[in-house]
């Protein structure tokens, strides 16, 4: 093919992704978020068969297919079981703005829970982060009943 003007031009593609949606929480998430909002407690549910405490609460145990109806309080302290450090100011999809860097993100297993939740770690320095480090949930003062009510997890000395 003959060479045309513009053929070797390199493009930068700009996209503004927007998706606003409504999400029916279901009975278990509803209670989970209401407890955080009203009492500041993080709740899980215990499987009657395997005894695992699922956080966030699931109405059915993924291993046993049993209904989970026993509510137990977990945390607010826990340990980091995986982490990463973020130095690139990604746009936070929930706000459209970047979060101050550096910060950490990790999987946190709350005391009393079997499963781990994915959340922000206040500590972003990979020299200071470690597997098993003790952390504590920091909650918003004015809570709204969503996962953003947990602001982040801060490291604690014990």
């Amino acid at each position: 093919m003959e060479k045309k003007k513009g053929q070797d031009e390199l493009l930068r593609i700009t996209i503004h992704m927007k998706a606003h949606y409504w999400f029916p929480a279901g009975s278990h998430y509803e209670r989970f978020f209401k407890e955080i909002k009203e009492t500041g407690r993080i709740m899980g549910v215990k499987c009657p068969d395997c005894g695992r405490v699922l956080v966030p609460p699931r109405p059915v145990c993924g291993e046993c297919f049993s209904k989970t109806e026993e509510w137990v309080q977990v945390g607010p302290k826990g340990k980091v079981i995986a982490f990463t450090s973020i130095y690139f100011p990604f746009i936070d999809g929930t706000t459209g703005k970047p979060r101050p860097i550096p910060y950490g993100a990790g999987l946190i297993q709350l005391d009393g829970a079997f499963s781990a939740i994915n959340h922000i770690l206040e500590e972003g320095d990979p020299e200071k982060l470690h597997i098993g480090m003790r952390v504590e949930a920091v909650l918003k003062e004015k809570r709204e009943g969503n996962i953003g009510d947990i602001l982040f997890f801060r490291s604690i000395e014990e």
């Binding site: 513009g6 996209i15 992704m17 998706a19 606003h20 409504w22 029916p24 209401k34």
Partner: protein
């Protein structure tokens, strides 16, 4: 909507402005759309497949593609879905339809909007033809949609 059968409803909001460098192959693909209203693919030198949209590498053979090939402007509607649930992440108002279109001369299919038709009249295997946007800026939406022939 503020509640759902009396239960709690969470409002989710994803707002992500971003940009990326298209690279040499996708850049030329978009430039061809913008300047010449042509849909281009690239042929793999080993398996001879024409890959559309043009890709730098053949993912089957792990070799660089080397030959530019114009495909379309007509093609076959391989499959489609009709969207009735509105949302501002769609580029058009509902009802709208997304199709997987295998352009004439291509060995792979592309996903795009189906338009200028009643969505209930769409059929698998029907012939469709590209409709280019009037204002093109080097973007996949330089193709406005595909319409039944």
């Amino acid at each position: 909507m503020s509640d759902h059968m009396g239960g709690m409803v969470l409002h989710g909001k994803i707002d992500l402005p971003f940009s990326y460098s298209a690279g040499k192959t996708a850049s030329r693909f978009f430039v061809e759309l913008r300047d010449h209203q042509r849909i281009m693919g690239k042929r793999c030198p080993l398996c001879r497949r024409v890959i559309v949209p043009a890709q730098l590498f053949c993912k089957e053979c792990f070799v660089e593609t080397d030959e530019w090939v114009e495909v379309g402007p007509e093609g076959t509607l391989v499959t489609f879905t009709v969207v009735y649930h509105k949302g501002n992440h769609h580029p058009k108002n509902v009802p709208l339809a997304y199709g997987i279109i295998k352009l004439d001369g291509a060995d792979t299919s592309i996903v795009h909007l189906l338009g200028e038709t009643d969505v209930t009249k769409l059929e698998h295997g029907m012939k469709v033809r590209v409709v280019f946007s009037e204002k093109r800026k080097g973007h996949i939406l330089d193709i406005e949609c595909f319409r039944p022939v």
